[in-house]
């Protein structure tokens, strides 16, 4: 396959973006794009007149995992150790970091999350200290945004403390009457819906789903968002398109920082919203394709499809997402991820889903504003070529208390299950989190 194969859809997508400019501008309600990057979800209140704003949050956690804190079975000597288990299962925080990645010295091949390396011990954790900088001059429809995160970690097994420039972009809203934004830089994924909850203040629970590794990574490149309201139907449709270095996989799987193949990755989500007085429904279809950005051959493709749905009715909210992924095999040894260099990019297939049900009850207390209980079910079937598939699932239950709009206390329990193909291990997790926003 030549390097020209992909750009045809890319061109179509660009033309789609260009199309609205040919029409007469329409006056639309002022709304933030539902999935624009930085200010989406967690957006601090407007400050005074200054074009500069600073905000952020501090996420302090406490976690205890069963067993050794990892999904690796102590007697399992198969290699690569990370192919026959789900090493992402024992997550302890909103970053998806796991309690342990100790595979007993066995060879692993780079299908790994990051870890806080607490093993099976209970420990307090400073999960994230996040600082957001905004610049939004009144004279131009431009937003400049940077999010810096401090991640204190013990050096031994976690790779050490990191200072992360998680997002940095400029966003232009070229038409005052249109919900069209053009963004250049490093931004949130456009695939699916879970990326909207990347940051712990806005995530209802604590840990990401088993699908999050495929959809919540950050991407470096350009993206366009367009939404058109249809008032007569109380509806809106939206299109979010990105051309980036890599996919929406998290950085421990694929880097966003550069293109390893020279071929851009194209991602898009088409959304529909129904906005009624007591009912809100949001549906979406996502897709992305491009050269695998964990190896160097532009002929090695990765494709991902997804469907998502959200429903909000009164205190009740439901969110569900399905993801299907197919990765071609590399053509030469060498696999390069955010956590290191590995042996080989194997052919891979995965499909999975999750569904979250939450009940958020407003409380008229002086301090306590909302009490939320939630549950989530995850299911993931994955197979590395020649290694045999694994099927895992997870039940998550938890509660969240919001105080003064500044502090959230959360606690949840993860029941991880190895249903087929992976050895049963003790890797359930209890985790709690206190999130302060400023």
């Amino acid at each position: 396959m030549s390097g020209c194969a992909l750009p045809v859809p890319a061109l179509s997508l660009l033309l789609l973006v260009a199309t609205p400019s040919l029409a007469e501008p329409e006056v639309l309600p002022e709304e933030q794009p539902e999935s624009s990057s930085a200010p989406s979800g967690y957006t601090p209140e407007e400050a005074a007149d200054s074009p500069f704003r600073v905000s952020g949050y501090v996420d302090v956690g406490f976690a205890k995992a069963q067993g050794r804190g990892s999904s690796f079975h102590p007697d399992d000597t198969r290699v690569p150790a990370d192919y026959g288990v789900d090493s992402f299962a024992p997550a302890v925080n909103s970053r998806g970091e796991v309690a342990s990645l100790d595979a007993g010295g066995r060879f692993v091949n780079g299908f790994l999350p990051r870890t806080v390396d607490i093993g099976g011990h209970a420990s307090f954790l400073l999960n994230t200290a996040s600082l957001d900088l905004f610049y939004e001059p009144g004279s131009a429809p431009v937003l400049v945004f940077a999010r810096t995160q401090f991640l204190p970690r013990f050096e031994k097994g976690s790779g050490g403390t990191r200072l992360l420039l998680q997002q940095a972009f400029g966003r232009v809203t070229p038409f005052s009457g249109h919900e069209l934004t053009l963004t250049v830089g490093r931004f949130d994924s456009v695939f699916g819906i879970e990326y909207l909850e990347n940051e712990s203040p806005i995530r209802t629970g604590i840990t990401p789903s088993l699908m999050a590794r495929y959809t919540t990574g950050h991407q470096l490149g350009v993206k366009a968002f367009y939404r058109r309201q249809i008032p007569s139907l109380s509806s809106a449709v939206s299109l979010n398109v990105a051309v980036t270095n890599g996919s929406s996989r998290v950085e421990s799987l694929q880097t966003a920082d550069l293109s390893l193949t020279g071929l851009p990755f194209v991602s898009a989500r088409l959304g529909y919203e129904l906005q009624l007085l007591r009912l809100q429904v949001k549906l979406g279809m996502s897709g992305q394709t491009g050269a695998r950005n964990d190896q160097n051959d532009a002929r090695v493709y990765q494709t991902q499809l997804g469907a998502d749905a959200r429903l909000t009715a009164g205190w009740l909210s439901l969110a569900a997402e399905y993801v299907l992924a197919r990765d071609d095999a590399g053509t030469a040894p060498g696999k390069h991820t955010g956590v290191g260099d590995f042996f080989y990019a194997s052919r891979f297939s995965m499909d999975g889903l999750y569904g979250t049900l939450a009940l958020a009850v407003p409380v008229e207390g002086e301090a306590l504003r909302t009490t939320t209980v939630y549950g989530r079910y995850d299911r993931r079937a994955a197979e590395f070529h020649g290694f045999g598939g694994i099927l895992t699932s997870r039940f998550t239950v938890g509660t969240r208390l919001d105080f003064w709009s500044v502090l959230s206390l959360k606690a949840e329990y993860l029941f991880n299950r190895e249903n087929a193909g992976a050895p049963r291990v003790d890797n359930d997790v209890f985790t709690a989190s206190a999130v302060y926003v400023f």
Partner: protein, 421 residues
């Protein structure tokens, strides 16, 4: 003049088109993908007389009823045929540590840099360290968990004895996952060399003989036995070349744990008409460790070499003065080497040919083949290239060309003795 928003949008489109232009640049590395040629695949390629890694597959596998290359002209006056009962892995003569040796090439790892050991579970009802297989669960098959199609497939297994309850049905556990989930006691055994492959491909046996023999000298060499194993609920055939005939790394800190230790295999070559190194068809030199490692030979208490099962070929470019020991009984080979291959072949003195141990020198290469003329000083005066140390000492580093290939190469003959069953 266009308004600012239109200008921005045009800029975006221009940027997009630039991206497209970049994307249309020729891309991809153009390198050959890594591939493991299994026994089945090598046989298939041999049947159609194809090549693997530039070498005719018939050099490694002879299908039933066909002439065995190592027993065909110019090495033998009349060709000998492979047994009609099975296909054969050709027995390849070699020298190792200054002594005759022989091996077969069962699998070829093309552009695959490393090979790992994988677990091979054996079910027992009790564990006796002095004889771990004593209480083997009757009629049970071993269990593995890696397919030939995976790049992490390995014929190099670590035997793990799993203690299951008495009375367990022999087909109760047919997957590694079930065993691990059962949380049974597990005990590590030694290594087992057992490529997965069809049951009708064994070391080559000449028609009307019962066991494989070493070309050039006719000594009996070891063979293999066939068996079946469970792989996620399905039975797969394998070919066992015995145990404790390789080693692997236990260096957990360096990330090399489980890596099979490879040995260099020096294949004598000479620059061909096109300037490319061309193998001369002489017995290879089987090393005892990686090229340049200086690792000595490791041999088990029963005389089984623990090296050579995974080899890395290196083309060894011979100086023009070097030449092999070719007895007068191999006139056709002598003329072929001198003519087609441009090799310096010195006539061997009759008294040397008459020595009882003369067969041990057939096609052994000396840097100074004139020593073949002097019975009084033979063999001490010869500077042989018959061990890893001698090759690495006597040939320039630039003359040893590493190949991007590994062989699964069970050693069937070492130090004058057959290895294996």
């Amino acid at each position: 003049m266009a308004s600012a928003p239109f200008f921005l949008l045009r800029m975006a489109i221009v940027a997009g088109l630039l991206l497209l232009a970049v994307a249309c640049e020729p891309s991809g590395q153009g390198s050959e993908p890594p591939h493991i040629w299994t026994i089945s695949q090598v046989r298939e390629v041999s049947i159609v007389e194809g090549t693997i890694a530039g070498v005719p597959a018939t050099e490694w596998v002879t299908v039933r009823g066909q002439p065995i290359p190592q027993w065909a002209p110019p090495y033998s006056e009349a060709p000998l045929l492979q047994s009609g009962q099975q296909d054969g892995l050709n027995v390849l003569p070699a020298f190792s540590e200054g002594r005759p040796a022989a091996f077969v090439v069962a699998e070829i790892w093309e552009h695959v840099p490393e090979v790992w050991v994988q677990p091979w579970y054996v079910l027992v009802t009790a564990y006796e360290p002095s004889n771990p297989g004593q209480y083997r669960l009757k009629d049970s098959l071993p269990v593995i968990d890696i397919e030939e199609q995976s790049l992490f497939y390995s014929p190099f297994w670590e035997v793990i004895y799993v203690v299951v309850p008495e009375g367990t049905a022999p087909d109760r556990y047919t997957s590694a996952t079930a065993l691990l989930s059962g949380r049974f006691p597990m005990h590590h055994g030694g290594g087992l060399l057992a490529p997965l492959g069809p049951a009708d491909v064994l070391p080559a046996v000449v028609e009307n003989r019962t066991s494989p023999i070493r070309p050039l000298t006719g000594e009996e060499v070891g063979s293999a036995r066939t068996g079946e194993t469970w792989l996620r609920g399905q039975r797969f055939p394998y070919l066992s070349f015995g145990s404790n005939n390789f080693t692997w790394s236990n260096e957990a800190q360096t990330g090399r744990m489980g890596l099979i230790d490879e040995a260099a295999l020096y294949i004598f070559a000479r620059a061909g008409a096109d300037g490319q190194p061309t193998p001369l068809g002489l017995p290879a030199v089987l090393g005892t460790g990686p090229h340049g490692s200086g690792r000595g030979a490791r041999v088990s208490a029963t005389g089984v070499p623990q090296f050579g099962a995974l080899t890395r070929p290196h083309l060894a470019l011979l100086p023009t003065s070097a030449g092999p020991f070719v007895p007068s009984t191999m006139e056709l080979l002598k003329s072929t080497l001198r003519g087609e291959r441009g090799v310096n072949v010195v006539d061997v003195h009759p008294d040397i040919e008459a020595r009882a141990d003369a067969k041990d020198y057939v096609l052994r290469v000396a840097l100074n083949p004139d020593c073949f003329k002097d019975p009084a000083k033979f063999p001490a005066s010869c500077r042989w290239l018959d061990s890893q140390a001698s090759v690495e000492t006597n040939l320039a580093p630039s003359s040893l060309v590493r190949q991007d290939v590994l062989f699964t190469s069970p050693v069937l003959f070492y130090d004058g003795k057959k290895v294996g069953r």
